[in-house]
Amino acid sequence: MENKKSKKIKRKSLNKFNKKAQHEIIGFVIIVVIVIVAGLFFLSFSLRRNKTSIQSSAEISNLIEASMYYTTECAIDYLPKYDNFQDLIKSCYNQEICLDGQDSCVILNRTLERILDQSLNIGPDSKNKAYITNIFYKYPEEQNIPNEEISYFEKGEFKNCSLVLGGDYMIYIISNGINSGNIYFELEVCSG
């Protein structure tokens, strides 16, 4: 009888141990799962942040700055006083017509496309996959007026970029001796 009792006690204590061990295993699994989820969250967050961030590039900034001196085919006043690219942006903003009758904005877009196509060599097999350009007029902040678009276009597929390089340029607009706003030229290049 005593033997039976001691066996029962043993079984009970073993059951208790087994239950405790199971609880421990469940606890450990929960901890591991939480750590893995936290790790994955951190990893995905850091990778996503790297992908979307735009890195300012001296090469792109130099390209924008150099293209501002580019002589265009549009002359507003007389021949051969051709606008450089910076003046052409202002002419387009003022909706001026070139001496040969062409719209300055049409020439602006055509010239910009030619400059960027030649210098960036956009293509699916090329280093540069796509680009976005945005030229807009920004009023002084105290006036609370939304930006006015002058030119916007993109080329190529702006997807799966391993690096996005960017640069910008600001043109001061002064009328009657007062800064009435600025024109911004932004360029983003998708590098694969």
């Binding site: 750590v35 390209l63 700055e65 150099a66 001196y69 002589t71 021949l79 051969p80 210098s119």
Partner: protein, 189 residues
Amino acid sequence: MKKLKLNNKINRKSLNKKAQIKIQEMSFVLIAVALFFILVGLFIVSIVQSNLYRKASDFAQEKAIASVKNFAYSPEFNYNEQNCIDADKLIGFVKKESQDHNYEKFWDFTSIKVIKESGFNKSEGEMIECNAGNYPDCDIFILYDKTPLNEVSVSSYIALCKKEKENSYIYEKCGLAKFVIGSERKIPE
């Protein structure tokens, strides 16, 4: 009574053993968890470090590009604006076959070239080298080229300007160009 005592002894012994096993288990689990965290930490550190190396090389390249821009601004090349160089000055620098070129010793670079817009998407073999005979209908100005074995080149976009004449008026015409500077990569012995 004796049997009960014996049973108790056996129970205590088995319990002690079980406790030891539990302590062992616990220590193993602790070691495993610590190892896991160390591995995760190492993984994160390696990612951060690789980003740092990439950023460092990016910064070095940006610095090199900025120095090219500063070099292009020197009076030997400069037009009248920053980031603009004078094509007519460049043609004066282009090496003539009968002439020794002192500028190879003047600048501490292994090569200086300026690629015009027309030569952007051409290989160097396809480009037409500028000289007094074909200027301005050419693609590349080679100021000098020492062609060392291990050359690293850095390029930057600049505006290439020159005076042109139309309807008896003189005006300035600017296009895009790439200023390319080469320097020798030192290999540790």
